[in-house]
Each structure stands twice: as C-alpha cells, then as structure tokens.
C-alpha cells in the first residue's frame, strides 16, 4: 500500500503539488488523471524519490520512505521515453539492477530469462533497444523493474509516444501483465479515455490539487467538483436562462451530460423549445448541437431514422430530467 499524507512539493516558490492525501491499495491499478502541467509527473517523482517533498510523509507498505533515496525505495519507474540504456542489450538492461545488487551470474541469467519470457521478449535479449519497436521497448522497461521483484510500478504517460493502434494493444498488455504478476500500478495520463478504461481507481488533479478520487463510475456519475464533471466525460454547463426555465437554483452551477439530454418533436407539450444548430453523425451515435433559450446545449443520442431527419434550423423540444442534473455550489 502506498500512502501520501499531506504531501506537497515545491519548485522554488512555486507549489506544484498542494498538500495531498492519497491511499493506493496493493495490487491496484491507480491512475493520476489531469490536464498537462497539473503536477502528475511531480507526484510520481515524489513517490519514486526523485523530487524531495516540501511537507508530509510518504509510506510504502508501512515503511516511511520520505527521506529514503530513490535507489533504496524499491519502486520501479517506466519513463515516458522508457529510458532504456542505449549502450546495453535488452538482456543487459534487464540484468542491470541485479548486477547492482551483486547477484551471482547464474542467478541473474535465470531471473532475466524468466522475466523476458513472462513479458514476451525472450527473442530480443541480444538486441540493442534501438532495434525494438515502441511496444517492445515498453516491455523491456517493465521487465527491468519486475526482475528486481519490484511490486510497485510507476508509469509516466508511457503510451503517449505510440500511435493509436499500438496504444490500444499496449493498454491491454499492461493490464494483462499487471493481472498476471499482480504488481501495484500508479499510472499517469492526461487522456481520460485511457484513464477510465484501465483503472481500478483514479485521482483527478487540477492545478496541483486533488479534486476527487474513486472508481471510473463514481467519478462519472457523481463528480464532486465542476472540474471533475467537465474533465471526466463531456458535460454541458446549463446556462442562466435554461436554468430559470427549469426552475433550478441560479445561485449554483448545473451540468448535464449530452446523453442525458432528451429530444422530442416540436409539438410535444413537455420540454423547452430549441433549434438545431448542427448535427455530427458519429455512426452508432449522433451528436446534436442545439440552441435553447439562446444558450448552447449538446445532446448525444443513438442514431435512428428519426434522428437522421434532423437538420440545422429545425425546431425541436428538449427534456432534461432533474435527477440527471449535476449541481454544485458556487456562482454560475
């Protein structure tokens, strides 16, 4: 278990991470999600021991590691560019940590072979990193930590250098390895789809501050802050006119997800009048851009023949059911 207790990090006078509490369970796939520059890498590097904390404590499996240098934390790191040693072969890269630990040659070769096999790169042991594909390099980077018996792996946006197809494969690859080996993963990304699809639990970070942690479903259905509401999944902020028409408290902020905006025919007795501004056909779904009471509103519906008839300029009615509206304190 990794625990952050009121941990903050400063770069000079700039507080990159505000005092933060966090618990990551053993064997969990935990993701730090947030826009670029919000402090995700900094938190990861604090856990790994590459940046000192300004305040607070970090414990790993009950051991206080706050003051322990990176080389003695037993935490593996998979860097954005993998940081494989270019002058060593794949097998030498994997053996590096064992050599540092002065293991015997026999022990090293056994362990290296076993982990190369487990990660599916046994055929590439004698190659240099530059000869491998991005996906294979990532496996070497993971193997290099796993061979040490490391049970905590930190990933800093490891998929951002890969193209879309390989990315998808590598997501599953990381998940499979994690399930098979059972290590704890702390994964950093700014890509919400990646975060939602891979994680057991996530933490959403904004400007160095922890906004909310929980499972993907919790964050999506019950966001704690407007930021989480908008960053995890899409959300319409309901404008003042519409809020008034719906009888909502205008002192608060209200959001609704596009799939919770229902469309009705023009003559429908319920609902608010709206005009279609534009229609994006996405295959199974259709996204409709509306204007209701002079305010923009997005709606996402399953494609069907009645939806296909929608065109810019048409008048429709929209229905927002109250229990689907997400409301937050604070000025609108």
């Amino acid at each position: 278990m990794i625990e952050l207790d009121e941990v903050s990090v400063r770069y000079g006078s700039h507080e990159a991470v505000r005092p933060m509490n966090l618990k990551i369970e053993t064997g969990e796939f935990f993701t730090l999600l947030g826009p670029s520059g919000c402090g995700k890498t900094t938190i990861l590097r604090a856990i790994a021991g590459f940046v000192p904390v300004a305040s607070g404590r970090i414990t790993i499996d009950g051991r206080d590691v706050t003051e322990i240098p990176a080389e003695r934390r037993g935490v593996g790191m998979v860097f954005q560019n993998y940081a494989l040693f270019p002058h060593m072969t794949v097998a030498e890269n994997v053996a590096f940590g064992l050599k540092v630990a002065r293991k015997s040659g026999k022990e090293i070769s056994l362990a290296v072979n076993a982990v190369l096999e487990a990660t599916g790169i046994e055929r590439h042991g004698r190659k240099k990193p530059a000869e491998l594909s991005g996906g294979q390099q990532q496996r070497v980077a993971i193997a290099r930590s796993l061979v040490m018996g490391t049970r905590v792996l930190l990933f800093d946006e490891p998929l951002s250098n890969l193209d879309a197809k390989v990315r998808e494969d590598m997501r599953h690859e990381i998940k499979r390895l994690q399930r098979d080996v059972g290590f704890t993963s702390v994964f950093v990304t700014h890509d919400q789809e990646e975060a939602l699809s891979m994680s057991d639990r996530l933490l959403v970070i904004n400007a160095g501050r922890a906004e909310q942690s929980g499972t993907a479903r919790e964050l999506y259905h019950s966001p704690a802050t407007p930021f989480v509401c908008q960053f995890v999944g899409a959300a319409n902020e309901i404008g003042r006119n519409l809020a008034q028409a719906l009888g909502l408290d205008t002192a608060r902020r209200h959001f609704v997800r596009p799939e919770h905006v229902a469309l009705a025919r023009e003559g429908d007795p319920h609902g608010v009048d709206a005009t279609v501004a534009d229609v994006d056909y996405l295959g199974s779904m259709t996204r409709v851009f509306l204007e209701a009471l002079g305010e923009p509103l997005q709606c996402q519906v399953l494609s069907d023949p009645s939806v296909d008839q929608l065109a810019a300029g048409m008048s429709v009615k929209v229905n927002l059911s109250c229990e689907r509206i997400l409301s937050f304190d604070g000025p609108s």
């Binding site: 790994a48 240098p69 934390r73 560019n81 270019p86 040490m148």
Partner: protein, 564 residues
C-alpha cells in the same frame, strides 16, 4: 538531488576544485593581467605610449597593411572557390563526384605548418611545380612563390575547409521544392541557384566568411614559411617584437589583434543567433543535383572543378610520393624514379629526427590529458550545479576561445620569464612545461564545448532509471554516464592531439631547446638546403596527415564532424 560520483568524497572534490581554480588563476588570469600591464603600464605608469610607438614604426604599419590586404583578398578568393566547390558537390551534376569530394576534403587534413611546408616544397625554389612551370616559361624566377601572392594562394586552397563542412551541411537543408518552383517559373538552374539557394545560404556564408577572416587575421605558419624573409603579418611581428625585447609593443599589438578577433566572434554569434532560414515547409524535399543544360557551361564547370581538385591534391601527392623517395632525388627529380622506406626508418631511428616527434607526442598527450580532466571536472560541475561560482569557473576556461594565441603566449611569457609565486617561485620560460601548458589553455574551450554538448544531450531519465533500479551514484556515473560520453571523450582527445601535433603559433612563441616540437622542426627543415632534412620533413607531414585522416574518419563515423 543527483549527487555526482565524486561528491561522495568531499575531500577529493575540494582538492580537485583547488587545483582547477589555481590553474585558472595561474594560466589564464595571470597571463591576461600581464599583457594588460605591459601594454598599458610598462614602467609602472599608466599610458598609451606603446600605441604611439607602434604607429610610428614602418615595419608595424606594413605588417598591419599586409594582414588586412591578405585577409581581404582571402575572403574573396576563398569564398569563390569554396562556394563553387559546394555547388559542384551538392547542386550540379558533375562527373566523378566521389573523387572531387575527396580532393576538396583535403584541407581538413592538410593544415597549418604542415600544409605551408608542403606548399613550399612543391612551389618553392627547387619545387616540382616550379620546375614544371619553368619548363613552359623559362623566365620564371626560382623564388616566384613569395609574398602576398604565395600567402593568398595558399589561403585560397587551404581555408576552404569551413565551406566544405558548414556550407555543405547548410545546402543539404535547402528545401528543393523552392528550386523546382523557381524553375517552374522560368528560372534556369544557375538563376535558381543565385536567386533561391544562395539567399538561404547567406547566413552560413557569412559565418564561414568570419571564420576565414579569423583564421587569416591570425595566420602565422603560412606567411612565415611562404611569405619570404621580408614579408610580415601581425602575428609574426608580435613574435619579432617580443624577441627584440619590446614586450610592451608586443602586448599592445596582441591586444589589437585580440580586439579584431573578438569583433569577428561577436559578429559570428550575432549571425548564429539570428538563425538561418530553415523550414518554411514541414516536409522539406532533399536537394537534388541539377544537370547543366548548356554544353559550354558544363565543360567549363567540369574543367574548373577538376583544376581545383588538382591544385589541392598535387602538393599532397608529391609530399607523400617524395617521402618514399631517396633523399637525393628530392632536389633533382620532378617525380621520384625509385622508392624506399629509408626516410621513415631515419625518422624513427635517428634521435635528432625522432626527438621533435617524441616531444610533440609527449606534450600533446599531457596537454590533452590535463585539458580533458579540467574540462570534464568543470563541465560536470557546471552541469550539476548552476550558480555564480560554477558559471564563472566555466567562463574562465572558455575565455581563451576569444583570445588569439599570440595574446595568451605573450601573457605566459611575460608572467613566467621570472620567478613567480604562483608556481612556487620558479621560472617556467625555457623549461619543458610552458609549451604544453599553452597547448592545454587553448584546447580546453573546444573540449568543453563538445563535452558540454555531450552532457546536455544525456537523457536525465537514464540516470534516474538506474537510480530506481538501486544503483548508487558512483555506479551510475561509471556504468551509465561514462559509457555514454566516452565516444565523445575519445574523439576530442584524438582531435586535440591532432591539432597540437601541427600547432605552430603557440609553439613558435614558447618552444626552446628542451621541447622543440614537430611544427618548429618542420619550419626549420623548410629553410634548410639539406635534402636529408627535406626528406625528414616530408615524412613528418605524411605522418601528421595520416594521423589527421584517422581521427577525422573516426569523427565522421561517429557523427562528430569538425567542430568550429
């Protein structure tokens, strides 16, 4: 946060720091101070008397005029030849490109006093080419190849290396689609070159021009060997003034030369910073070579291209050929009629012939090693901790980069021609070590530039990856950092040694009977009428070229081709 290997041993590090600071104080600051003191306050009173005396001397005025005339002419001729060579190699379809490229690359290995002596050998009194020319034109005097003509001629064909390195690299970055666009709009290949390619190359041409200016202003070996006894340029005159016991005038003149050099470098940096026109387009099309449409122009271009190649190759070919010829054939034959290894045997077995080679190797190796250690220490320190202290240390060792060699040499002479407390009250002048110290001082800035580039291109994540795998600092330094910068270290060692083997300027100021280097032996050999001596010179030149060739081939293979 990233403690270095050494920092775990604070005592060792402090001791090293003290040594390095002492080096900077003794061999950089003290000499600079001496030059300023002798120039502006020779007798203790501050004054500008030296300037008046310099201005009043005819010999000084002539030398300054010569320097400017040679530099002005060289700028024009070197650019004409250099730009033409680059066009031939990279822009026009010319047959035998591989051969031409080889010929045009020879100024990289045929440098300094070796090249000057080589030119003297073929164009001088008994030179093969002089004999050849006289057979066509008997009225040609034996010593036709002297003065401004000889110096500018040698500059023209020896200073094109900057064009070969930098202009060629620049033209390869030109987006060929702009040439095609111009031709589509009706421009001929020549017009396209002049109107589209050249303007893009202009910043680079300007930068190479400044490098040529810099080299030419400080030119020493070439005018000394080829200029004749009554022809002086500024550097040679500084040496003369110093030996005439006028250190004040020598110091002042070296300051003047220094100002000219600093101006050149400042202009160069300005051009570099303004940047070049790279990439209007996201996907530049590599430049393609163009066939010359007009047969007459085509013939003329081929003729000129090969003529230049011959001019550059013939001296080298003759030097190498005659180095394998019996000594007696040197003064008598146009081409050697028999071959032998005797000259090489002589150089390696006869002590008088071997000593300069041994001296140069010994001084080169010690200067390179000391320079490398200092550079490594300073660069590593400045890379890890950026603060006023490390930055000023870094800048101190970079200072000799903007100071001309005579300035530093005069500084060392004036500082160490009497007992000096900085070196335990000893006199360094006249001893063995003063010259290697001078070599090291001028080599360090180049080493630091390369090392710094190597350190900054290291991915810090590699160090961190090793750390998170449990490797302590010293292990990381040895197993990750050193292997990754090792190729650079080996190459700069080779390149520095290469430069020192034929270094002439510093050598001429600081050598003495205890450490006569190769370059001075070459210079003296070139003046002797003894064919045995000439033969030994040819062996020296061939060995220097072979060494340079090896180093440059290595550097090229590892993508480190010629730093400035």
């Amino acid at each position: 946060m990233r403690p270095s290997g050494i920092s775990r041993f604070p005592l060792v590090r402090s001791a090293l720091l003290v040594v390095v600071v002492w080096c900077a104080a003794s061999f950089i600051y003290a000499p600079i101070f001496s030059v300023l003191r002798f120039a502006f306050a020779p007798g203790g009173d501050i004054g500008l008397g030296a300037i008046g005396e310099l201005a009043g001397s005819r010999r000084v005025r002539t030398a300054i005029v010569n320097t400017f005339v040679v530099t002005g002419l060289s700028i024009i001729t070197v650019n004409v030849i250099g730009i033409f060579q680059v066009a031939v190699l990279e822009y026009l379809k010319v047959g035998g490109r591989g051969f031409l490229r080889f010929a045009y690359s020879t100024p990289l290995i045929f440098v300094s006093v070796a090249a000057a002596t080589g030119y003297g050998f073929v164009y001088g009194q008994n030179g093969t080419l002089t004999k050849l020319l006289q057979s066509v034109w008997p009225a040609l005097p034996n010593d036709w190849f002297t003065g401004t003509l000889a110096v500018v001629f040698a500059h023209t064909f020896l200073l094109t290396s900057f064009h070969f390195l930098f202009l060629r690299a620049a033209i390869r970055r030109v987006d060929y689609s702009t040439v095609e666009a111009a031709r589509g709009l009706g421009a001929s290949s020549m017009e396209a070159f002049v109107r589209v390619v050249l303007p893009v190359l202009l910043p680079t041409i300007f930068a190479t021009t400044l490098l040529v200016t810099y080299k030419s202003l400080g030119s020493f070996a070439i005018p000394s060997v080829l200029g004749g006894r009554r022809f002086d340029m500024v550097t040679e005159l500084i040496l003369t003034l110093n030996s005439l016991r006028r250190p004040d005038m020598a110091a002042m003149l070296s300051i003047g030369l220094g100002l000219a050099v600093i101006l050149c470098i400042a202009a160069m940096q300005y051009v570099e910073r303004r940047g070049s026109y790279v990439g209007g387009s996201k996907t530049p099309v590599p430049i393609e070579r163009i066939r010359i449409a007009s047969p007459v122009v085509n013939l003329a271009v081929h003729a000129a291209a090969y003529a230049i190649a011959v001019i550059q190759l013939v001296p080298i070919a003759l030097v190498v050929l005659f180095s394998f010829a019996p000594a007696r054939s040197i003064a008598t034959e146009v081409l050697p009629s028999s071959f032998t290894l005797q000259n090489y045997v002589t150089v390696f077995s006869q002590s008088t012939a071997f000593v300069p080679l041994k001296n140069s190797l010994l001084m080169g190796a010690s200067a390179t090693m000391a320079g490398l250690m200092i550079s490594l220490f300073v660069v590593n320190l400045a890379h890890r901790h950026t603060n006023v202290g490390t930055t000023s240390l870094d800048l101190s060792f970079m200072a000799p980069w903007i100071l001309p060699v005579p300035f530093i040499a005069i500084g060392l002479i004036l500082t160490y021609d009497e007992p000096n407390l900085l070196v335990a009250n000893r006199v360094l002048l006249g001893g063995f070590w003063i010259l290697p110290i001078g070599y090291a001082v001028v080599s360090i800035p180049i080493m630091m530039r390369f090392l710094r580039a190597a350190f900054f291109s290291l991915d810090p994540a590699l160090n961190e990856a090793a750390q998170s795998l449990g490797a302590p600092a010293f292990y990381r330094f040895l197993r990750v950092t050193v292997p990754l910068v090792l190729p650079v270290m080996i190459l700069i060692t080779g390149m520095t040694l290469n430069v020192i083997l034929s270094e002439y300027s510093m050598s001429a100021f600081l050598f003495n009977v205890n450490n006569k280097p190769l370059s001075i032996a070459l210079f003296e050999g070139a003046r002797s009428a003894n064919p045995e001596q000439a033969a030994i010179n040819l062996v020296y030149i061939s060995l220097i070229m072979a060494f340079s060739l090896g180093i440059i081939t290595l550097a090229d293979r590892y993508g480190l081709g010629g730093g400035k």
